[in-house]
């Protein structure tokens, strides 16, 4: 065996990847080659010393300084970065659903048959107009408190929706409602301005 092969086997030895036969081969070579033997001894000493080096202790105030430098609530849902987008989207979707409902009550022109009557009935039961009137009356009395209350309510609703992943469905419904209202508005304009709708001519 030549010294180059012995050097390669030495590396395998320190990689803990040497086979028994190879180790015997290397030992045999080193018995007759003082240069390789010395190399091996020095390298073994160096590597063993590295492996036995003590782990140093971090300074005492290490953890407290790191903890003071990081925002603890960085991963809390309510303070997530870019939280405007999910909240904003949920709020817009909620507003879209409400506006669509109210518009539908006011201008319901598409004939859904019994479903239309059912929806109309539900909205009337909810008496949204009355609710808004009451809110307006309250607002005139105590504007700031009401504002805070409304913001808190919206925040809670938004958080619950986001945490339960309902925001996605709400956004989809809101988008569909907006599209529906847009089409309806366009049809109504067509009807009143051109007297045309659904292939039939109506009087203005």
């Amino acid at each position: 065996m030549d010294c180059q092969r012995a050097a390669n086997l030495m590396m395998k030895y320190f990689d803990h990847a040497i086979g028994d036969l190879e180790e015997k081969e290397m030992t045999l070579h080193m018995k007759g080659c003082s240069s390789c033997r010395l190399d091996f001894q020095w390298m073994k000493e160096a590597i063993c010393s590295v492996e036995e080096m003590e782990e140093l202790e971090a300074p005492e105030d290490f953890e407290s300084m790191v903890m003071a430098s990081i925002p603890i609530d960085y991963y809390r849902p309510s303070t997530q970065k870019n939280s405007f987008f999910p909240y904003g989207a949920v709020m817009i979707a909620m507003a879209a659903v409400l506006v669509c409902g109210m518009l539908y009550l006011r201008y319901a022109t598409v004939d859904f048959g019994e479903i239309h009557h059912l929806m109309s009935f539900v909205f009337r039961i909810m008496d949204l107009q009355g609710v808004f009137q009451n809110l307006a009356a309250l607002a005139s009395k105590n504007m700031v408190r009401l504002l805070i209350f409304v913001i808190r309510c919206l925040n809670t609703i938004g958080t619950v929706l986001i945490n339960t992943r309902m925001n996605v469905y709400l956004i989809i419904v809101g988008t569909l409602c907006s599209i529906f209202v847009g089409i309806q508005h366009w049809l109504m304009r067509l009807t009143y301005e051109a007297g045309y709708r659904g292939g039939k001519i109506y009087e203005k």
């Binding site: 590396m11 990689d15 080096m53 202790e57 790191v66 990081i70």
Partner: protein, 192 residues
Amino acid sequence: MTLTDQELIERILQGEGELFEELMGRYKNGVYSLCFRMLGNGEDAKDMAQETFIKSYHALGKYSREYKFSTWLFKIATNLCIDEHRKRKAKLMPLDEQIHMPYDTASAETMYFHQSNKDEIERAIGELSQEYKALILLYHKEGFSYQQICDMLQLPMSKVKNRLHRARHMLKDRLKEIKEEESKWTAKELQI
């Protein structure tokens, strides 16, 4: 019950940021030791180790569970140390000169005991270049595998192996030189 690293990370990501302290407690000495040996002084090591944890906290959302947390953390620490060293190009004083200042006043006996193998190897490592130092420490001190080191340093396996083999030779030669120098020096002092 002790939580695993993965469980702790899950909970931190769910908003329990205070648990990061526990996670840090597990690796702070390892990271600090690596930074100390890479940079060669306590103050820089402390700054880099803290920077490592701050950076890892902010990037925890991007941590991939296919790797061990320690591998990911040491990757950040190693890269930060190499970058820092490149930036500063600091002239690092050999480690034993900082910790143990000249031995002029010491007796021959104390000198003998103080010149332990530990100091010599620290000095030899301190004199290696950053890339070689990182490989020696990660493989032989921290016990990472070749594959983990490849992932950490983003180097191909062949390069990591070649560099580690070269680093071992350099370390061996340097240790040999230091020991020979010191034995000559000690003999001289004893004659006086």
